[in-house]
């Protein structure tokens, strides 16, 4: 039983009235708030996209192959993340860590590709100022890229702990977040690359 003296790890953090571990529950609520953030941004984009007939000409200049390759990369990294989680549930820390590092690698590739993509587009004059379409393009993919970056950092930390068998339950948490980032991209890809 917790008492006034034992304060380092509050009893609160050890309870689970819902049966869902607190950490995972929190991640779900984080995702819920993320859904409405991206949802608001994409809803605005879709409305203006349908409002401006000329946007599909602009969209024609996005690089489907880069975007497609990145979709593939994220899907694969998601696979690694979930395999890492499987390893973690089998209490195999080092294996989980290896998979997580592979996931980070996936994120890295994603960002590198995106960097080349952007430089190329900017060099060809498709800057954030060229047209509102491009403003949305850079804002949405940029916001998503930021999430990828954050995810990579946390993944790295979790992997480090997992390698020495610590906080294995966190492997699943960061995994869930990473899959969400993947799912967001699954929608950004058709919205900004395919539909034209």
């Amino acid at each position: 039983m917790a008492s006034a003296h034992e304060v380092q790890v509050p009893l609160a953090t050890r309870r689970s009235a819902t049966g869902i571990p607190t950490g995972r529950l929190a991640v779900w609520w984080v995702l819920a708030s993320e859904i409405v953030i991206f949802g608001g941004l994409l809803a605005s984009y879709i409305m203006l996209r349908l409002h401006h007939p000329h946007w599909h000409e602009e969209a024609a200049h996005t690089n489907v192959w880069a975007g497609g390759f990145n979709t593939f990369v994220l899907l694969t990294s998601s696979l690694f993340a979930v395999l890492g989680h499987q390893a973690a549930e089998e209490e195999d820390g080092p294996r989980a860590a290896r998979f997580l590092r592979l996931t980070v690698g996936g994120g890295l590739v994603f960002l590198i590709v995106k960097a080349f993509e952007w430089t190329n587009e900017i060099q060809h004059g498709f800057t954030i100022y060229r047209d509102l379409f491009w403003t949305y393009y850079y804002t949405a993919t940029g916001l998503h890229g930021l999430h990828v970056l954050v995810g990579m950092i946390v993944l790295w930390i979790v992997a480090r702990d997992a390698a020495c068998g610590k906080h294995l339950h966190r492997v699943e948490l960061i995994g869930i977040y990473w899959h969400f980032v993947d799912a967001v991209w699954i929608f950004l890809f058709p919205l900004f690359y395919i539909a034209r």
Binding site: G19, G39, S78, H169, A183
Partner: protein, 118 residues
């Protein structure tokens, strides 16, 4: 009630075959890329967005384990999406539309005169 242990152990469900799921996702992805090749807008619509929905649902169900998670997590996430639909429905008549009852975008007028950007 079991409130005092570290974290209520999730009833260890057998993991689905992730590679199989991954395979399905990849083929769906291929479809979404191939879709526009036929150049039919409605087909593109289905292959691009219909498939995207399926893919996202699969990722959520199998990778995020929503299919073995407590039911109401689905509801929470879906309600959030629902609110986004409400937002869209309420805003589109003003922002998506180019003109409506007793109002119009000057842009619409200009476009009519071919004065649109580009």
């Amino acid at each position: 009630m079991s409130t005092e242990e570290r974290s209520a152990p999730r009833e260890h469900t057998p993991h689905p075959n992730y590679l199989a799921v991954y395979g399905v996702l990849l083929s769906l992805f291929a479809i979404s890329v191939a879709g526009p090749l036929w150049g039919m807008w409605w087909l593109t619509l289905i292959t691009a967005f219909g498939v995207a929905v399926v893919k996202a649902t699969m990722v959520a169900a199998y990778f995020m384990h929503l299919n073995v998670e407590r039911r109401y997590i689905w509801y929470v996430l879906l309600i959030m999406l629902g609110f986004m639909l409400v937002l869209f429905a309420g805003v589109a008549p003003d922002v998506l539309a180019r003109s409506g009852q007793n109002w119009q975008h000057l842009r619409a007028v200009q476009d009519a005169h071919g004065a649109a950007r580009h």
